[in-house]
């Protein structure tokens, strides 16, 4: 019963947000300058998200192992925890930076400099910079490139995961069990 109520309230909330967006859209169309500003702001947020994704995938598996290793079998599995942490980080960043704007619009928290009317910029030619200073998708609004953004997050997490794994193996080989066994066997 309670969950049904929550679901109804959530649906109403999302509908209101969408309607608010539509209402705002009907008010006035964004100018090219506004579109450029919002696009740059979104790109900047995404790049921060990408960095967070990579750094978190690199660092969190170690912290997860160190702090939770005694309590969780996943945290006590050096390779598995890199994969699990990487996937969770990608999922959260994807949700927070790529998916949520499409679901609830802009204008909140880290998207406060961007208005929901940014979506109206998608069909416009406003000189969008594109990803990585124009290397990818120049001329296309960044928010419209969500599949590429998703792949980039996955790629960043995979690369960071690989580095985390290499560091983990290096530390384990240098100071871990095999090294202790080597000393014992010497």
């Amino acid at each position: 019963m309670r969950s049904t109520r929550c679901r109804v309230a959530g649906s109403v909330f999302v509908a209101l947000l969408v309607h608010a967006g539509a209402f705002a859209q009907s008010l006035s169309s964004p100018t090219r300058t506004q579109c450029k500003q919002w696009d740059d702001a979104y790109l900047s947020t995404f790049q921060t998200g990408l960095t967070v994704c990579a750094v978190a995938t690199l660092i969190l598996p170690f912290l997860f192992g160190l702090l939770v290793g005694r309590l969780s079998w996943i945290a006590a599995a050096p390779r598995l925890r890199i994969v699990v942490v990487g996937l969770v980080v990608v999922l959260l960043v994807e949700l927070g930076v790529v998916a949520l704007p499409w679901m609830v619009g802009f204008g909140w928290l880290w998207f406060s400099p961007i208005e929901t009317r940014y979506f109206d910029c998608i069909p416009l030619q406003f000189g969008a910079q594109g990803l990585f200073r124009g290397l990818m998708g120049a001329g296309v609004a960044a928010v419209a490139q969500w599949p590429t953004l998703t792949y980039l997050l996955l790629l960043a997490a995979a690369a960071a995961g690989l580095v985390a794994w290499l560091i983990s193996e290096f530390v384990a080989r240098s100071f871990g069990l095999s090294q202790r066994a080597r000393r014992e066997g010497a």
Binding site: G65, G69, R70, L71, R79, A172, L177, R182, E184, G185
Partner: protein
């Protein structure tokens, strides 16, 4: 003080089956030497634990494991009966029944007894124990050091137990006299504690009562002077259950008593195991002249069923996780070794790996030690195709509580003692891995919390 258990026949073996479980679960703290004597096969569960104890050997003595002195198990199957054949064949060397007309064997055994096939034991015919001899036992099997406590366990209604209890006690006393050793000799004796399958034992239950009387009288009259100091008599009142010899021989997932059955009265073999522990550890030195006064009628169970069940659940699950979660493999890749697993377990692991590396000659070859160790853990715990492992020694239980990795850092793992290590026992990477696996499982079972 040394403690020795002499288990006779199928009943003695079943008591040892439960007693070994209690030892492996850490509920019995002291070590002991067990001797099993039977005319039938040694049950598989005892063989599995015997193998585990062999794998645990670390020093020169068979009972010297890493960080603990472990029990030893010697098993003797009376070889004079191996291959089966009827009692007549064994006694006269002829299968021809007409020979009894002129053979003195007819004076001692009736036709039915002589026709009894001895392939699977003496079938509640203690008189047939004269067919067997104790020559098969090694010289030291029934000897015990001065001031040792020796407990003989067997059924008075069975053929092997009933027939061998008195001769074995006599042999123990003779060995003690020879060595000028003073023993505290005790016994757990089983009366009629099960209902035989109809037709399996000729003469059925009437024979049981007669066997009981025969054995008790022979002990009282022949051995009461210097013989049994104390004894406990297991003889349930009321209805008894049937036995399942085939299941017992496999020793796979045999059930435990219910938690409400504190002394295990509804499981006579469990009661026997409790009595065994009580008699082994009881320090009463009072001697009674009258044989009947030596019977222990009541005792507080040394290991209450509910406590044992609690420990069983913990131990089995911790040891199971060691295998299921591939702990030996995952530890190799762990950069936070001490934070996750504590310091003692990695030290112990590294000790065995180091031995393997040293014996293998080159570190590269020993690189497969972790996977070899994990394989051995699985083999010892779960068994191989068709062969049960240590897990099957214990009852089958549903998973009841969560085991986290920290359970392993709480175990007081033994410290390496390279100075006392018998190097001949660790000459191959595979044997080192097997001994390491046995040690890890043994400590996981005994110290799980």
């Amino acid at each position: 003080m040394s403690q020795k258990i002499v288990c006779l026949g199928g009943t003695g073996q079943m008591v040892l089956h439960y007693y070994l479980q209690l030892y492996l679960l850490g509920l019995i703290g002291h070590r002991f030497d067990a001797v099993v004597i039977d005319t039938d096969e040694i049950i598989d569960s005892i063989r599995r634990v015997q193998r585990l104890f062999i794998d645990l050997q670390y020093g020169n003595a068979p009972n010297q494991a890493l960080g603990i002195e472990i029990p030893t198990i010697e098993t003797f199957r009376i070889t004079s009966l191996q291959g089966g054949g009827s009692a007549l064949q064994r006694l006269t060397d002829s299968a021809d029944a007409s020979i009894t007309q002129s053979h003195p064997v007819r004076a001692f055994f009736d036709r039915e007894t002589l026709a009894q096939d001895l392939k699977e034991g003496l079938f509640a015919r203690p008189a047939l124990s004269s067919v067997v001899s104790l020559q098969d036992l090694s010289g030291s099997a029934l000897s015990a050091p001065d001031k040792a406590t020796v407990v003989v366990v067997g059924s008075m209604i069975g053929g092997t137990g009933g027939g061998l209890i008195a001769p074995v006690i006599d042999e123990i006393l003779w060995q003690a006299r020879k060595a000028d050793a003073h023993l505290s000799l005790r016994a757990v004796l089983f009366g009629r504690y099960f209902t035989p399958d109809p037709g399996r034992i000729g003469g059925d239950e009437n024979r049981f009562l007669s066997n009981e009387l025969l054995v008790l009288r022979s002990i009282r009259e022949a051995l009461s002077e210097e013989g049994i100091e104390r004894f406990y008599f297991v003889r349930p009142s009321g209805e008894t259950d049937a036995r399942n010899p085939d299941q017992e021989k496999k020793g796979v997932h045999l059930p435990w008593p219910d938690p409400g059955d504190a002394r295990g009265e509804r499981n006579p073999v469990w009661e026997g195991a409790q009595a065994l522990e009580y008699l082994l550890t009881d320090t009463t030195t009072q001697r009674f002249d009258k044989f009947e006064a030596r019977e222990v009628r009541e005792f507080d169970p040394p290991v209450p069923v509910s406590a044992a069940l609690q420990q069983l659940k913990k131990s089995v699950q911790v040891a199971g996780r060691l295998v299921d979660k591939s702990v030996a493999k995952r530890m190799v890749h762990e950069p936070w070794l001490t934070a996750v697993w504590g310091s003692a377990l990695p030290d112990l692991y590294a000790h065995f790996w180091g031995i393997a590396a040293r014996e293998a000659g080159e570190q590269e070859r020993a690189g497969r030690f972790p996977s070899e160790l994990q394989g051995m853990l699985r083999t010892i715990w779960q068994g191989r195709k068709g062969e049960p492992g240590l897990r099957q020694l214990f009852p089958d239980l549903p998973r009841s509580h969560k085991v986290r990795p920290r359970a392993f850092s709480k175990i007081p793992w033994p410290r390496s003692q390279d100075a006392v290590r018998n190097k001949d026992l660790f000459n191959l990477l595979e044997t080192t891995a097997r001994r390491a696996a046995a040690t890890l499982l043994f400590w996981s079972l005994r110290e799980a919390s």
